[in-house]
């Protein structure tokens, strides 16, 4: 199956799960954000917000070549 490249940004505590090459990360075509999160070994529920190209998306979003993906944990302090 074809491979595509995405740009990945992992915020705050999620940064520790960052792979190499976050600017140019390779995934299989057809990968959803949910599959990506599992592939990065990020624990379930650790991701609260998913942004693709500056817009909120849900975990079922299917990644496209060149997508800028941001994963954000829950932040609630005051």
């Amino acid at each position: 199956m074809a491979q595509i490249k995405i740009e990945l940004k992992l915020f705050v505590t999620l940064a520790e799960f960052a792979p190499e090459n976050t600017d140019n990360f390779t995934v299989q075509e057809g990968t959803t954000v949910e599959m990506l999160i599992r592939e990065l070994k990020i624990p379930e529920n650790a991701v609260k917000l998913i942004f693709v190209n500056g817009k909120k998306q849900d975990a079922a979003y299917v990644l496209k070549s060149g997508d800028r993906v941001g994963l954000f944990p829950p932040v609630g302090g005051g």
Binding site: F11, L49, K56, G70, P74, V75, G76, G77, G78
Partner: protein, 233 residues
């Protein structure tokens, strides 16, 4: 001491005299007087918001000294709401302050915010934030919300007809009580940066001026200096 016409001289001509007048009759509630709320009430008072209700049932602990503007060594063990009132009186005695040294809950919050123009969410629990949203929707007033963890922070604004926190934290029933701030702590300059953006959004909402972060989330991270605005809706 009102300091006459000198007090707001340096607000001009970023704010017009008409806008300054409008701020002086505005009513803002700040809920939570920790790292965010302490900064927000200070900045709104200096800018010239005329009426504020400052709510927090907590007292200062030594661990608040690392970031909470209202906390001094001498005030450890004393009421955050009382400290806020004294501080605002010292920096701008023109501001009318109602200090509430009690925790907001489902039974008293609606009364506390009804009749205000705006409520600023500076709470430190995700459940509390949803409670505030319920009350603000009933009272039909907008919310300017900030949240911090470590050197990261976020700010959003929503109006009564907007979806609000569901867009940021997900649906109720699946909520953690707190976010990752329990692990990362909270750093002084991040709290004040996020407070500053909250104060800025308050002034913009009150004056209906500029690009307001309505249904948008500004995400900031200071190790990497990343500032990004995301569409929530």
């Amino acid at each position: 001491m009102c300091m006459g016409s000198e007090r707001y001289a340096r607000n001009f001509d970023t704010l017009t005299p008409t806008e300054q007048e409008r701020l002086s009759s505005a009513r803002v509630v700040v809920l939570g007087l920790g790292g965010l709320g302490g900064g927000v009430c200070e900045m709104l008072a200096r800018t010239g918001v005329g009426h504020m209700t400052l709510i927090d049932g907590d007292v200062f602990e030594a661990s608040n000294l690392n970031r909470q503007l209202l906390c001094t060594e001498a005030l450890v063990g004393t009421s955050k709401a009382e400290a806020a009132k004294e501080r605002i009186c010292a920096v701008n005695s023109l501001v009318q302050i109602t200090a509430v040294a009690a925790y907001a809950d489902k039974t008293n919050l609606l009364d506390m915010i009804t009749g205000s123009d705006l409520v600023v969410d500076c709470l430190d629990s995700i459940h509390g934030r949803f409670m505030l949203q319920d009350a603000a929707k009933k009272a039909q007033i907008p919310v300017v919300a900030g949240a911090i963890a470590g050197v990261s922070g976020q700010v959003t604004v929503f109006f009564p007809e907007d979806k609000g926190y569901e867009l940021v934290y997900g649906k109720r029933g699946h909520l953690p009580a707190t976010g990752i701030e329990l692990r990362t702590g909270n750093i002084s300059y991040c709290a004040l940066m996020v407070s500053a953006v909250q104060a800025s959004e308050c002034i913009k909402v009150l004056l209906n001026r500029g690009d307001i972060l309505r249904n948008k989330l500004l995400i900031m991270e200071l190790w990497s200096n990343s500032f990004e605005i995301m569409d929530l809706a």
